[in-house]
Subunit: 406 residues, 2 copies
């Protein structure tokens, strides 16, 4: 009998590439000064939460109702908060969501682990579409599911439907969709939403099973042009929406979000019960009580995300001018840049010589790219541009000389 | 293939006896007025958090450092918070704990699920000593462990060592100890701590395994007399302490606590890694960031728990005078009263006729008792005493007449 759970020990010991780079960045900043390191490693919002939000926190804390403010809420969340969240969703998307469909959570990661635990039995399959947030695999496997991946559509970072169709089978319990996408910034188009839901419906009928669409939506509000992001509850009955306020309100450390179990699924009551049971069994007693009240007062509002748009435009325009290849990102705060020559790790290693911290794409399920998190100061973006130019010039020369010498 | 995970659906559908009674109480209060219902059902602190704590929240929120305040911390917690927690533990218990032994969590339930997931593989056994918090079973079984129970020592609510010894075996991975205890209020005596650790060490040697002591300690500070509560890290090497600030600082809804992995265990590094891995895999990205800073400033302080002591004395003195039998509770805020005749459910049902909401003991792993949570207003306690007197008088008459008619 092993002394500990070795799967968990592995998860604790093997650190993510993103975190490793972040730690390298801290060290490097201490050595040469923070202003000299161009850190594009972490998706930690750089824009503060709205002032109004922090004022609301202070107002609640000093409001003299400490017992209720910090007391347990119902496991699914305070009733008034659930009602307000449902109303906000309906106002924006006309989705016919009820308060009783909402389960408040400790952020998107909790939304995902609870949803995955609720719908899968050990051995059931969950599909991720590359490129995907690496923790999807961790979350699915820890819940006992098998994580299977659809290779990336490298033309537009939409969905390779032939590959998806080939992987679907009677053991498929769900597919995780993340639009706007981390790391590519791509938004799933209306046409591809229709194609996806059509395919899933066809397969549900063929297999006589339910295939849940799990929509991981922390970036829903981070869309910079007049781009439609279809609300999937309106598109497909067997949908669970996993939402977080981390990015839209710059609250990633506070762990606050929710799950919507679509009331249009035929067994919505059972699925909601399983969500509640999974939340209970995983140790989530309730979402942080004060923060529930805070987000209630902030529904429909966001931090000043104009900064991210400015950064995107600056970076996209400059990098494509310098010769980088990159799909134009419509949302989130990531740029997914092709690494010339294809070896993402080597390229990102080389980038460190220019004090550029970029995440190699391999852990996102696709090789040959570097992820830039542009939730950083615009000043840093501007100062980093010459480094990007020198990096690609030098790298291309090296590639040529290496190829020539073979 | 079932459409959802039926174990989770069951957990979501089968509500706890405590929650059911709480909901009944809400309904009843609406019917006859809150002041006429004597609600002893829930362990929700009635004393507010210290004013200083709420002022700290406001100070942090208005401090103009929103990005750092609400940003991700390291998964194990902010370094300065971990250092302060370790220092506080060492100041009070001289336990030689280091910051690197501390893993900040979303409260005691998270501390337990993470710890249990970290140390068990599917099928490993976890022991609970009756009477125990019913969620222990849920937490252990959701992590894939087998939950086994040691029957209660009904003399003093310490440990029935013969029964414990009989249940220990090479598959035993851990035993959960909760002192002061929910629901009995008992504190494990020094002599029994020594006997327990001696037995576990002997069995570890005999089996060549590790048997972890998992100390669930949300009530550590709630001790009303000059009673010693040994700090188990000083007593037994293979100890994990699961702590929560819910009760000591009246913050149950905020979900903030920590795990200490004793650095005296031979594989402390592996166990800490498994804890970190389990936290990651279960979806706990970090403990709520602002609340980490808040509790850092409140270490060593508590809410005004004098009220609980007053309630305990009032209730214990009155109830024993009326003829109730009850072990004198040294800690927590629970009184565990013997139900004359032995049928706890029938007795608690009868108590409703007197507007007394008491939790039957069956879900705590022992029959024949009612739990009173006396974290209520002292005024309510005083007003409820006549109802307790009438209840036992009428109930004893009914028992006699029922027995006579057989």
């Amino acid at each position: 009998m092993p002394a500990v759970n070795e799967q968990m020990m592995g998860l604790g010991n093997v650190r993510s590439a993103i975190r490793d780079l972040f730690e390298y960045g801290l060290k490097r900043k201490a050595e040469i000064g923070a202003e000299n390191v161009f850190d594009y490693s972490l998706g930690n919002p750089s824009v503060p939460a709205p002032r109004e939000l922090d004022e609301k926190i202070a107002e609640l804390a000093l409001g003299g109702n400490s017992v209720a403010l910090h007391g347990y809420t119902s496991a699914a969340g305070a009733q008034d908060v659930r009602e307000a969240v449902a109303e906000d969703i309906n106002r924006r998307f006309g989705a016919g969501v009820k308060a009783s469909d909402i389960y408040m959570t400790c952020g998107a990661a909790a939304s995902l682990t609870i949803s995955l635990r609720a719908i899968t039995c050990p051995g059931d399959e969950i599909i991720g579409v590359a490129p995907f947030f690496p923790e999807y695999r961790v979350f699915a496997e820890t819940q006992g599911a098998v994580f299977r991946t659809v290779p990336a559509d490298e033309k537009e970072f939409q969905i390779d439907f032939d590959a998806l169709e080939a992987i679907l089978n009677p053991h498929t319990k769900g597919i995780i969709i993340n639009s706007p996408n981390n790391p590519s910034g791509a938004v799933l188009s209306r046409a591809n939403v229709d194609r996806l839901t059509g395919l899933l419906r066809k397969k549900e009928q063929e297999y006589g099973t339910q295939i849940f669409l799990i929509c991981d939506e922390p970036y829903r509000e981070l869309v910079y042009d007049d781009i439609e992001v279809p609300y999937m509850i309106n598109e497909y009955d067997d949908t669970l929406v996993c939402y977080s306020f981390s990015k839209s309100l710059s609250l990633p450390g506070e762990r606050i979000g929710y799950i919507v179990v679509s009331n249009r699924m035929k067994n919505a009551g059972d699925v909601f019960a399983a969500v509640a049971g999974a939340g209970r069994g995983l140790g989530y007693v309730c979402a942080p009580s004060m923060m529930q009240r805070v987000i209630r007062s902030m529904l429909g509002k966001t931090s000043d995300i104009g900064v991210y748009r400015l950064n995107r435009d600056l970076l996209y325009d400059a990098l494509t001018e310098y010769g980088y290849e990159c799909v134009h990102p419509d949302g989130a705060f990531y740029l997914f840049v092709k690494t010339p020559g294809g070896d993402a790790k080597a390229f990102c290693e080389k980038a460190k010589d220019y004090e550029l911290l970029l995440v190699p794409s391999d852990s996102f399920g696709v090789g040959g790219y570097a992820r830039l998190s542009y939730c950083v100061s615009t000043d840093m973006v501007k100062r980093s541009l010459p480094a990007f130019r020198r990096l690609i010039e030098d790298w291309k020369k090296e590639c040529v000389s290496r190829d020539g010498s073979q």
